[in-house]
Amino acid sequence: MRRRLFIASGLSTLSGCGPISAALSQNGGVQRVLASVEPLNHVLIGTRGLAQEYSERDVDRDFRVNGFATPSDARYASLVASNFAGYRLVVDGAVERPRAFSLDELDAMPQRNQITRHDCVEGWSAIGKWGGVALAAILDSVQPRSDARYAVFRCMDNDGSGNLYYESLDLHQARHPQALLAMRLNDAPLHPDHGAPVRLKVPTQLGYKSAKWIARIEVVGSFANIAAGRGGYWEDQGYEWYAGI
């Protein structure tokens, strides 16, 4: 252990970490060069194939809660109090037939269950059984127009400073057979802490793509005018839009 630390401290001397790496990490030009490999990774890995599906015995019964705090505003509290009777999932934007789905309407659509691994950008993984409606079915019912390119997920949770969470998928990712609007976790209705009543589950990308507490899906041609314009809350903080790695 001491030997490793000795080597490691030697490394830091050689690489001149600290001030130099901090200066480079805050230099916009350097960061643009570093970020230049993201399109390459997106093209090479992309959204292909299917994430591994597991069996019931692999499921984490006490699925780890993460992300922003559960919404605590009066509107969300009243939704919870009414068991989400007044909830509507609004799907609009660049679509032929904008719609607002009640939970009963979503429940009446074909349901699918998938047991998949949730891979967090932080490095940990957990396995859950997710039940709900394929996102592709929702998109089919609203019919995206020819100029539509992305589905933007508008959420009810915020970062504590009033910035609402949002995420986006391109329509190819959104139509992936495992892209799910989940209403159930481990055969029970989603708990508020897990994003009730409706959350996204995209097992081919890192967990921050799987937005919780979705209020609205806005289909757009470009997300450049939404928040800081990078397609998601964490993307606006410097994380990759393509979260397949």
Binding site: M1, S25, G123, E240
Partner: protein, 262 residues
């Protein structure tokens, strides 16, 4: 009395020198940014999903001012070294690896990921370009360990330990060097690249066996870390040898290409 110097030989081609130094930079950045990424979830599990029952390494801070490192269930207090370390902003906090060895120094997972993914490409391209060109030129053959070298491994080690007066006869690279280069080029470097890819959920969906063969995602993260430790070990021995065996001649040859035989 010294003999007249023998003529210098042109030992390293431009591509070799360029890829060597570029690879060094990439390696140091990959280690520093990798430790930054590790810090976001400072555990390594021998399992697919996270599983505390199969935890091999955990670095944590059970209380303010205390850092601990748990290896196979044995906990050591490592305050100021691991678990409770410098935060890069002038004070100390609960960070597994300290700011002096992570990139960026302060806690920044997205920044660490950007450095890591860019220099992963630099390292992979260097490795591949050099390997390809050395294989074409034939110089790679001199570095690869062959069955005939195996009986010479111990005599070479004995020579280093001063148990033997002369090294066993060998070509440009001695049998131990060949063993180290062969292991790094064809086992450890591919291990690190493949386990890195195996961590990616997108890659897992394309090529699940890549993740499964290492025992799943968390296990691949553990192998990726072990691969880094092996490369650090190689780096330490390599640096020691350069420092102790004609440092200036070695450095000149890797900078200008010209080596002065004794």
């Amino acid at each position: 009395m010294r003999q007249a110097a023998r003529p210098a030989i042109y030992r390293y081609a431009l591509l070799t020198r360029l890829s060597h130094w570029l690879w060094l930079v990439a390696f140091l950045v990959l280690v520093g940014s990798g430790l930054q990424i590790f810090n976001a979830s400072p555990n390594l599990d021998a399992s697919d999903k996270s599983d505390a029952a199969r935890r091999v390494l955990a670095i944590g801070s059970p209380a303010d001012g205390v850092g601990t490192t748990t290896i196979f269930g044995h906990t050591f207090v490592t305050t100021n070294w691991l678990g409770w370390t410098g935060d890069g902003l002038g004070s100390r906090g609960a960070h597994a690896f300290g700011a002096s060895i992570t990139i960026p120094g302060y806690q920044d997972l997205s920044g660490g990921r950007r450095w890591h993914f860019f220099f992963a490409w630099v390292a992979a391209i260097c490795w591949f370009a050099w390997l390809f060109s050395s294989a074409i030129k034939g110089s790679l053959r001199e570095m690869i360990l062959r069955p005939g070298d195996l009986p010479k491994l111990w005599p070479m080690q004995a020579y280093y330990l001063k148990l033997r007066k002369a090294p066993p006869p060998h070509g440009i690279y001695n049998p131990l060097q060949k063993a180290a280069y062969t292991a790094v080029l064809f086992a450890v470097a591919p291990l690190v690249v493949i386990t890195g890819l195996a961590l990616s959920p997108g890659m897992d969906a394309i090529a699940h066996p890549l993740t499964a063969v290492f025992g799943g995602r968390q296990f691949a993260r553990l192998w990726h870390f072990v691969g880094m430790l092996l490369l650090l070990g190689f780096f330490a021995i390599h640096t020691f040898q350069v420092l102790t065996q004609g440092f200036f001649n070695q450095m000149r040859s890797m900078v200008t290409g010209w080596y002065q035989p004794e």
